[in-house]
Subunit: 260 residues, 2 copies
């Protein structure tokens, strides 16, 4: 059975998409078979992996409305062992379409369970990129996931939202998915030149201890350049600090998983 991670944080611009793509790529590079599900109507994960908007004939919207199956619509990416279910703007209309459906929070979970059967458990990891809000899309991801990875930008406002996110996780655990865990909190865009990063990192580690990954992702311009080439940073510039950090993160995540 695949391990399912959701990348969620309602604070915007903290590195959810960047982490889903680059951790996915690094884990795939280690020989694990990985599927990314883009649950953000913006479709940044799909673009960052080179799937042009015009090529997205089907998308996550069709999965959640149960019109299509994951097996039929997943796309290959430039990265071996890494496939993706792309998203389109149709997702913006999902909440209205499912408003009266009493299974609306479980659509993704049902689609993934069906996929596991149809693909005969071919995938080792399923990574879900969430939009910056605690809406029905993110709730679907939390209901379907085994665990949550929380990218946290080393900035003051990002700290403010952490408490709310943890409360939401408790609420999801109590109502939709009792086994949901927090796999870890990832410090992103760490800038050693400024004190703020160091202060935020210290506050988070004091607050959450071992839940915070040892690996910290530095602010590194190569990371933000890679998506314009439709590539993960590991393919765009293997030697840069960003790539090295995401590969270290993959090692840390895989090690933690194998032990668990």
């Amino acid at each position: 059975k695949a391990k399912i991670f959701a990348f969620a944080n309602q604070k915007g611009g903290v590195g959810k998409t960047t982490t889903a793509i680059n951790l996915g790529c690094a884990i795939a590079g280690a020989g694990e078979k990985v599927l990314i599900i883009d649950l953000d109507p913006q479709g940044n994960a799909s673009t960052g992996l080179g799937i042009n908007k015009d090529d997205r004939k089907f998308s996550t919207y069709d999965i959640l409305t149960r019109e299509q199956t994951i097996v039929d619509i997943k796309y290959k990416t430039l990265v071996q062992n890494l496939d993706i279910v792309p998203s389109t703007l149709d997702l913006l209309g999902l909440e209205a379409v499912l408003a009266e459906d009493n299974e609306k929070s479980y659509k993704l979970k049902l689609a993934v369970e069906e996929f596991e059967v149809q693909s005969k458990n071919e995938y080792d990891y399923i990574l879900i990129d969430c939009p910056p809000s605690l809406n029905l899309l993110t709730i679907n991801a939390l209901a379907a996931a085994d665990a949550l990875i929380v990218p946290l930008q080393c900035e003051f406002y990002a700290l403010e939202g952490l408490g709310q996110l943890l409360e939401t996780v408790e609420h999801v655990r109590a109502t939709l998915n009792k086994d949901l865990l927090i796999h870890g909190v990832l410090l992103t865009m760490f800038d050693e030149r400024n004190n703020l990063s160091g202060q935020v990192a210290k506050d988070v580690r004091d607050f959450l201890g071992d839940k915070v990954y040892k690996t910290v992702i530095p602010r590194n311009v190569r990371v933000s350049e890679a998506p314009s080439y439709g590539k993960p940073v590991i393919l765009y510039d293997y030697k840069c600090q960003g790539s090295q950090a995401y590969m270290n993160l993959a090692a840390e995540v895989l090690k933690k998983d194998k032990i668990a």
Copy 2:
């Protein structure tokens, strides 16, 4: 009558809150009376202006459910001429509460019109900070606003969302607010050390021409430090590049307004 600006962009972390606070402070410093309305459940604008979470007895939620009036619940800030209606997490429940209400998109517009009467047009500017999504909260802001200010981070993914935002504005003009204009697009977190910023800035100016403000906000760590002191950067460090840029922006916005 006050001029009403909404700060919106569904891409997360592009500088919506930072711009609402610092442009608001700079305009207030020029002698105009300014009210900020925090429409983001995260409440970053409220925190960035020093309103502690525990002190927010009433909030924007009470305004949108018409339980309270803006006159009764606005708070003073550290900045003279700058007041705020703070937000709380209650806003997360608004969509469900107003689901069957056929005036749900106009709640903010109605509240602001009532406020103008009750305050005898005391305010010159009303600035609305939006969450990173195109949900009922942002729709309320677009329905109530005279014009939209779009903060745009100089990054690849930020460009991708621009087209969608412009489409939404057209849709709002056609259905809810026929006079809604785009006042301007503001380039934020511009980093002269990397080519990506320059490339994105050029692409945006080629695409939107005069709609893009001449003032560009540089990436400047003092800007991201200021919120942890509950102050706009202009009060925190008047001489830094971030403060200077926001004061230039205020001059540009005021000049454009007076001519219009």
